[in-house]
């Protein structure tokens, strides 16, 4: 029995592996250059993590259901451009946000309908919408660069509550809401059920089509949240905010945070930590003064190492878990 307890404890420790990884990175980077762990810089890291975290939360929901949303990155650009255009066109913030919401919902609904109702593989469906969203963004952003200056948005993007930036607080609130939604609602349980075993969910009476529609709509809502944050942080909005690199950061954050790309597994807390890890790596490389042209090289390398660590942890976990399940009854 004690052996079993020990195994359970090991499992629990492995469950917080992303946190351990974050701490380890902080220690290593701090030893290399103390400026990385300076409170001001850590605040920067948190701010840089915020948009990644928001998009990663959406990616988390989709990945949890066994799907993927490739359109999310470019959709951030589309929403940002639409909102900025409304604002520069003289509309109020509310109108701009409502128009942004409508665009996000449209993209999410198309994804959800293609995956849920037309039964297309999520990779293909969202690949197609990704390309189309790119086209729509180009079409809209004829003027190229848009300048926004909305005071309310500035508050969100630049101000602080005490020592903590508003953007970080807002992201934390969204994260908490998402945590509650995944744990305490039918939506959350059923999303995990679909990713874990879609047939089981269907036989249990879950309406897969409706559920998948909802999942991609939720993903689109996180796209909107991310776009709002992006617009609020930089007054200059171009069609290139978002795109593939932001999408990849978000998916990497979710996966490093413990969300399984095969569905069924992952926690909201892990995703937030994953976003911090990605932001920390990017930030630390800048602090170290790495040549900007080599930045991606190091970042790619570090992500590969993180993935290897993650794989090692997962193998260890499955070994231990198999031991627990296989114990004689």
């Amino acid at each position: 029995m004690t052996a079993q307890h020990r195994k359970t404890a090991v499992l629990r420790l492995l469950g917080i592996a992303p946190v351990l990884l974050l701490v380890a990175l902080l220690v290593v980077f701090g030893l290399i250059d103390g400026r990385v762990v300076d409170p001001d810089n850590l605040r920067n890291v948190a701010v840089q993590a915020a948009p990644i975290a928001l998009l990663a939360l959406g990616a988390h929901v989709v990945l949890l259901s066994g799907g993927i949303d490739l359109s999310a990155g470019f959709a951030v650009g589309l929403c940002a451009v639409v909102i900025a255009q409304r604002l520069t066109g003289g509309d109020g913030l509310l109108v701009a946000l409502l128009v942004g919401l409508a665009v996000a919902l449209a993209v999410g609904a198309v994804n959800g309908l293609l995956v849920g109702y037309a039964k297309l593989p999520p990779f293909v469906a969202t690949l197609a919408t990704m390309v189309m969203v790119q086209g729509a963004t180009l079409k809209l952003a004829t003027s190229g660069v848009l300048l926004t200056n909305d005071p309310t948005l500035r508050t969100l993007g630049v101000e602080r509550v005490g020592p903590i930036p508003v953007a970080v607080v807002a992201t934390a609130v969204v994260g908490a809401l998402m945590w509650a939604a995944m744990r305490g609602t039918r939506f959350g349980i059923r999303t995990g059920a679909i990713g874990s075993d879609a047939d089981a969910a269907r036989f249990s009476g879950v309406d897969l089509r409706r559920q998948q529609l909802l999942i991609y709509v939720v993903s689109a809502l996180m796209v909107l949240a991310c776009a709002v944050l992006v617009v609020s942080r930089t007054p200059v909005v171009t069609p290139n905010v978002g795109g593939v690199s932001l999408l990849l950061d978000a998916i990497a954050a979710a996966v490093i945070g413990g969300t399984s790309i095969f569905g069924g597994r992952g926690t909201v807390g892990g995703v937030l930590v994953g976003a911090l890890i990605i932001a920390l790596v990017t930030n630390a490389l800048r602090v170290f003064g790495v040549d900007p042209s080599s930045l991606d090289l190091y970042k790619g390398t570090i992500i590969v190492i993180a993935l290897l660590l993650d794989a090692a942890i997962r193998i260890a976990r499955s070994r231990v878990a198999a031991g627990v399940a296989g114990a004689p009854r």
Binding site: L127, M130, G135, R190, A200, F203, I251, K299, R314
Partner: protein
């Protein structure tokens, strides 16, 4: 029969080479588009322009061919664009450093292969998901490019490095010829080589591929290396076209390439696809891109059209499914248009009636007398009449057994009752009122609960979440789940059932038996009046089975009716009051249990007289072929020793989890023993090496045929040849005639039905699938045959056929070691029985031992009993 099967075989080979109807459709679509563009823009159909399209498509196609291999092997590579840039820049840097141009080509190709090898290592050997690994590599390759180029392009003087991408032979661009050459090579690889066969097997079912001695990880790794090398070649062509190496080359290429592969009909889930389809897909993309640029369409519209194209192509590939969906919708609409109750067939009713039935349910449940009646229910699938004229009824408080061989239509009937399939004709009546079940929710509303054979539990969810899935308790109309109430109710229910499971336990960590009981608990919870149980005991120990019986009694006491499906005769006679028999989808009859005996039931099911299901042939045992000495695996299996001689069948009995299967897996080399030794024909086996075990003459028919036995998307022929090919390929190519002969022989010898070697194995019935798995191993001419539950979930007719084949092998001097949970099978077939208890070989019983002797040992009750029986047995034989 032989000639028919050979014809069908030829069709399948053609299909493998890609000349399938989907490809013809796609080609027609491409030609049509080209004609439309030609009509709109006069210059479009000029030969020069067409060659230009070919040249533009060349890079995409070359990379896409390799990507087809990756995707067929169930991977994905989104780093190809990055590799094109990195490989091009490596070549450019080498050129700058004065390396001869010819060598620069090698630098590009090898550089690409090197990055591909990194992908392959991350995926094949470190087990990282392909998407994530190649995502990281993409960032890495792009970073590498920027880092070595500093963001500047490198101009290249004309020479060998630019020749491939810029020269022409007559009017034809060299790059197009290179692409055609690649196509020819890949088509040959996919269609004719062992490697091609391995790609499909790895993508179709990696576990089964591994069990069939295929080096799965190496195959996966190699696909990424080949893709990297192809991207390197693509980089060379790109350099030639623009006379320089560009740091941003190949931007977005990954998505274009994947699009070409998917448009070409390759399935993202792996195991299916053709390189010819990919070639047409690349061409289609080239036609669209060129056509749109001819028409001077703006870039944004090009994006939108490309997106739409992906959707159309994939939907066209799924057109069977699309047509079926359209038909369903039509029927539904028509049903709605028809006046209420006027439809004799199809049971056309509006959705409100399900609600009405629920109301009726409540009032009648108190009365206790509910009835579900099926009248002439039928269901067809494309090419198969799955159910025909099924009529019977189930009432509250009775157990009706549903029997039939595998493929008789039981599963279809169960799915009909569960709301998964709708019948095409006939009707169902609930308490006399017509009933329509269009979804699982409808079935639940009608008070029908199905316990499926393959569990309907989500492994990543907790026990409590699974119990309530689909009907989670909420706070009134809010979507918030009452988690605490859920747990409390689950705990009460588990206590009630004597189930040692906590509500918060993840189902994944539970034993098979516990999962089965949770399924039953789910049915209890639903307050259903009719519970359909599909082979509920196939995974239960006897103790768990008895608990299930007690539970059934309680359900009956509550006025619940039960439709019980099982292959086990003793269960039917213990539980059921009536038996309904299906054969080949047709309703054969309904009998009161007193009217029939076992023999009569088998006759009804099989349609002929099967007198000896488990034949035993007496063979004088020969030399000792298998010797297992004190083997343990560090887990469930602690220590087991046994011997099997030529011409002998030894059964390993014991409870589930007693380490029986682990013995077989250690012998087969699939698990690595932690202690002890194994010898075949006197020679020790190296531990944990399936290939070595196979070379020594060991063959293993796994416990779970779906997981490890066969590759569902492959044909009977390809499955049968999978393990055999390893030693019978001719320098890596597939000897097609020999394979066809082998498949024909196997089909005849084991009686596989239908006798069509081109038929996909996943559409066969369980018994025929098992014959294919057995046939795959018999093809390797084993000396030691390991059978793990060889007849689980297999119907009586197939059981007899499988055991006749086993008896034949025994006669030929094969040593057979069999694990079975079915005691009648063990007692009838085995010459000796080794009983396992908690990971140890608890004792050995001679032929003639009784069921009680085996169970006593299995429950660890006294070795004394065993030796006594053994002594008695020896006396008896003396």
């Amino acid at each position: 029969m032989r000639s028919v099967s050979q014809n069908a075989g030829a069709g399948a080979w053609r299909g493998r080479l890609g000349a399938s109807s989907a490809n013809v459709t796609l080609l027609a679509m491409t030609a049509l588009l080209a004609l439309v563009f030609g009509a709109l823009e006069p210059g479009f159909l000029d030969p020069d322009n067409l060659l230009d399209i070919g040249q533009q498509s060349a890079v995409i196609a070359i990379v896409a061919f390799a990507m087809t291999a990756v995707i067929v092997a169930r991977g994905i590579d989104i780093s190809v664009g990055g590799i094109v840039a990195a490989a091009g820049m490596l070549a450019g840097t080498a050129y700058d450093a004065g390396v001869p141009q010819l060598l620069c080509i090698a630098v590009a190709v090898l550089g690409g292969a090197g990055i591909g090898a990194l992908n392959g290592a991350l995926i094949g050997f470190a087990g990282i998901s392909p998407f994530m690994a190649t995502l990281a590599t993409m960032a890495f390759a792009r970073g590498l490019t920027l880092s070595i180029s500093g963001g500047n392009s490198v101009a290249i003087e004309p020479g060998p490095l630019t020749w491939l991408g810029s020269a022409t032979v007559g009017p034809v661009p060299v790059s197009l010829l290179v692409a055609l050459l690649c196509l020819a090579v890949w088509a040959w690889v996919f269609g004719r080589t062992l490697y091609g066969r391995w790609l499909y097997a790895v993508g179709g079912n990696a576990a089964a591929a591994r069990a069939s001695l295929i080096p799965v990880r190496t195959v996966q790794w190699s696909t990424y290396v080949l893709t990297g090398a192809s991207a390197g070649l693509g980089a060379v062509l790109t350099i030639g076209r623009v006379s320089s190496a560009q740091p941003l080359a190949g931007n977005g290429l990954e998505f274009t390439v994947i699009t070409a592969v998917i448009v070409g009909g390759t399935k993202l889930m792996g195991g299916e696809g053709s390189v010819v389809g990919t070639a047409i897909g690349s061409l289609l993309l080239g036609v669209v891109a060129t056509g749109l640029s001819f028409m001077e369409v703006s870039q944004d519209l090009v994006f939108v059209i490309t997106g739409l194209l992906i959707l159309v192509a994939v939907l066209a590939n799924q057109r069977a499914a699309a047509i079926a969906a359209a038909r369903r919708t039509l029927r539904r609409l028509r049903a709605r248009a028809r006046p209420h109750g006027a439809a004799p067939a199809g049971g056309a009713r509006s959705g409100d009636d399900a609600g009405a039935a629920t109301g009726a349910q409540r009032s009648q449940a108190q009365a206790g007398g509910r009835e579900l009646r099926l009248e002439e229910v039928g269901k067809s699938f494309p090419g198969v009449r799955a159910l025909d004229g099924v009529s019977f009824s189930v009432r509250s408080g009775e157990v009706v057994a549903l029997m039939g061989e595998n493929g008789a239509g039981k599963s279809t009937l169960v799915k009909t009752l569960g709301g998964v399939h709708e019948p095409d004709d006939g009707r169902m009546l609930l308490d006399g009122a017509p009933l329509r079940l269009r979804s699982a929710a409808d079935a639940q509303a009608a008070g029908i609960r199905v316990i499926h054979q393959h569990f309907s539990l989500a492994p990543d969810l907790t026990a409590a979440e699974n119990l309530f899935l689909g009907a989670e308790p909420t706070w009134g109309p809010l979507p918030l789940v009452r988690r605490r109430a859920m747990h409390a109710r689950a705990r009460r229910l588990f206590d009630d059932l004597g189930l040692d499971v906590r509500p918060g336990d993840r189902v994944e960590t539970l034993s098979v038996g516990q999962r089965q009981m949770i399924e039953v608990a789910k049915a209890m919870l639903s307050e259903a009046w009719l519970v359909v149980m599909d082979e509920p005991t196939s995974a239960l120990s006897n103790r768990e089975r008895d608990r299930l019986y007690a539970l059934i009694e309680r359900l009956l006491g509550r006025g619940v009716g039960i439709l019980y499906i099982s292959h086990k005769m003793e269960e039917i006679f213990t539980l059921a009051q009536r038996v309904v028999v299906l054969r080949d989808g047709r309703f054969v009859g309904e009998r009161a249990i007193e009217e029939v005996d076992e023999r009569r039931l088998i006759e009804l099911m099989v349609g002929r007289d099967v007198d000896n299901v488990f034949p035993h042939v007496a063979v004088e045992p020969g030399e000792e072929l298998l010797r297992v000495d004190r083997v343990g695996d560090g887990g469930l299996l602690r220590e087991a020793s046994l011997r099997v001689r030529a011409g002998e069948v030894v059964a390993l009995a014991g409870l589930m989890g007693s380490g029986r299967s682990e013995v077989l897996r250690c012998v087969a080399g699939l698990d690595r023993p932690a202690s002890g030794s194994i010898a075949v024909a006197g020679r020790p086996l190296p531990p944990g090496r399936p290939a070595a075990a196979s070379a020594a003459g060991v063959a293993y028919v796994p416990e779970d045929r779906h997981a490890e036995g066969f590759v569902g998307a492959m044909s009977i022929r390809d499955n049968v040849a999978l393990a055999w090919l390893r030693r019978h390929s001719r320098r890596g190519t597939v000897p097609r005639r020999a394979v066809t002969e082998l498949a024909g022989e196997t089909i005849e010898r084991l009686g596989v039905r239908p006798p069509d070697p081109a038929r996909r194995v996943d559409v066969l019935s369980g018994g025929n699938q098992q014959k294919v798995v057995l046939g795959k191993w018999l093809a390797t001419a084993p000396r030691v045959l390991l059978l793990d539950e060889p007849t689980r979930g297999v119907d009586v007719g197939a059981k007899a056929e499988i055991h006749q084949a086993v008896a034949e092998l025994k006669r030929r001097g094969v040593a057979i070691l069999m694990v079975s949970s079915e005691l009648p099978e063990v007692l009838a077939v085995a010459d000796r029985i080794v009983v396992m208890h908690e990971g140890r070989a608890a004792g050995e019983l001679p032929r003639g031992a009784s069921e009680n002797d085996v169970m006593a040992l299995a429950f660890g009750q006294g070795a004394a009993a065993a030796t006594a029986v053994a002594a008695a047995g020896e006396e008896g034989s003396a």
